[in-house]
Amino acid sequence: MNLLELQSLLPQLILALGATAVLMGGAWLENRRFWLLCGMLLALVAALCAALYEPPLLEVAGMYSTSLYARFCTVVWSLTIAATLLISCRYADLHCFGGGEYAALLLFAAAGMSLLSAASSFVGLFIGLEAFTLVLYILIAFNRTDNRGAEAGLKYLVFGAVATGFLAFGIALIYTATGSFHFAEALAGLQLDGGLRPLGLAGWAMLLVAIGFKISLVPFHLWTPDVYQGAPAPISGVMATAAKGAVLTAFLPLLAGLGDAAGEIKSVLWLLAILTMLGGTFAALPQTNLKRMLAYSSVAHMGYMLVALLIGGEVGGQALLFYLVVYSLATFGAFGVITSWALADEEIQEYAEIRGLGYLHPRRSSALAAFLFSLAGIPPLAGFFGKFGIFHAALRSGYTELAVIGVLTSLISLYYYLRPIIVLFMQDRSAYQLRSGCREEFILLGSCFAAILLFGVYPGPLLELVALVLP
């Protein structure tokens, strides 16, 4: 690795080295808030660096690209991690997290995610994916006093490991079929009508199982609600947004490169998209736990994004990225509200526990309601233009059936998004007296809220940006 290559990977390096430094430092100085803020600053610096610093090389070691697209993803994931660190301030105090480790692990995750989105070969993809998956194993079970956290950690570990097996096997099969790990060549190899093509398809099947797990497509979604419920709320937020988004963004160029050979794979994606939209929506209907509901809702949203992924190209990619950003803002915000409502011994997640909180904590409750409405796609919130883009893309590419199913599921989904809102605002007060939020939480929730409102009223700039960065 020469200097130029290192320079090109500067943002990732900042994240990874910063994480190491924080980890070391955390062992000496036990000031939780300091390390969290430190981590946040590092993430912000990485984001700034990715946004402003023009990398000298277009590809690093044949594994990672430094295209605008990759930089955009790096910015987004770094900002997500920064936001997570910010919102965790109180939460970490409450649960006595080790500040250094927590910040370091999240920074590692950011590095992993940004590598994953930047991957231009299967090796890079594997490394990036594993890097943040390993970190998440730890983070999920980070709360050592919580049985549920342990269970969630276990579940994620077992499935993650199995999925890693599938991913690796899929990569190996593709490699066997094409003789290359690099996306362009590996995909080009699949085009041939050679005898090894079935092998490649088998590899893709394995790969899809692994992706299916990571972004929780039906029927690989079963772990999602349990893990989200058990993990600390900020971590659930990261998992529902950045972790899934990184996988999706990694596969967007992959599918685009597949070209004509993608027929079979797209038809599988088509099937998975339908299953996911329907399965996620219906399973979310009877939920009475906020985090589980959000988990199933994230499943359903993955279905929508899969539609965009499947369409690909400029239209699909634009819709996907816009949707991803908007969805992440809303979902992250929702988990942020749960974070900020957390008590020392437990998190408030059951609907029965949040009855009538809307008037006790009006700002956070209204923010939650806004996030949920945005997820439901009700204007004037950003979710509307997200869905608009997906349906637009689907209709434009002739996937009318997907658009119709999407419309149907978003109608049904409204019911489960309304339920917490009803509980919050339309029922009598529960006995819970929650702590009032801290400044950091309000800043973050406020900016999430402002963003979904802004993108709901004036999505133009974001749409243009997204169109600009598309590979």
């Binding site: 594993e130 570990l157 077992v158 096997f169 066997t176 003789g179 058990g230």
Partner: protein, 101 residues
């Protein structure tokens, strides 16, 4: 190449499926982890075979990465096993079904 690629493929697939079955069938966490190790080793085998087939080195590089990753995963897994055993006094995965629905 002495061994044909087909044989490597078949063997590694069998190994992978054995590992998968182990994961599916066993209830003991340790055994499940062992099944996963078998799956990953099947991958390693296939990669090495393919690397030999294509006369390229990067397949073997990937195996190195894989091993490193596996060891990291195992260390985390074992830590988790210890942690879980301390909490619930068992490593039977059936004990962990508190969250459902």
């Amino acid at each position: 190449m002495i061994v044909p690629l087909e044989h490597v493929l078949i063997l590694s697939t069998i190994l992978f499926l054995l590992g998968l079955v182990c994961v599916l069938v066993r209830r003991n966490l340790i055994m499940i982890l062992i099944g996963i190790e078998i799956m990953l080793n099947a991958v390693g085998l296939l990669l090495v075979g393919a690397s030999a087939f294509w006369q390229q080195i990067d397949g073997q590089v990937m195996v190195i990465f894989l091993m490193a990753m596996t060891s990291a995963e195992v260390s985390i897994s074992l830590a988790m096993v210890v942690y879980l055993n301390r909490r619930k006094g068992t490593v039977d995965v059936r004990a962990f079904d508190e969250m459902r629905g």
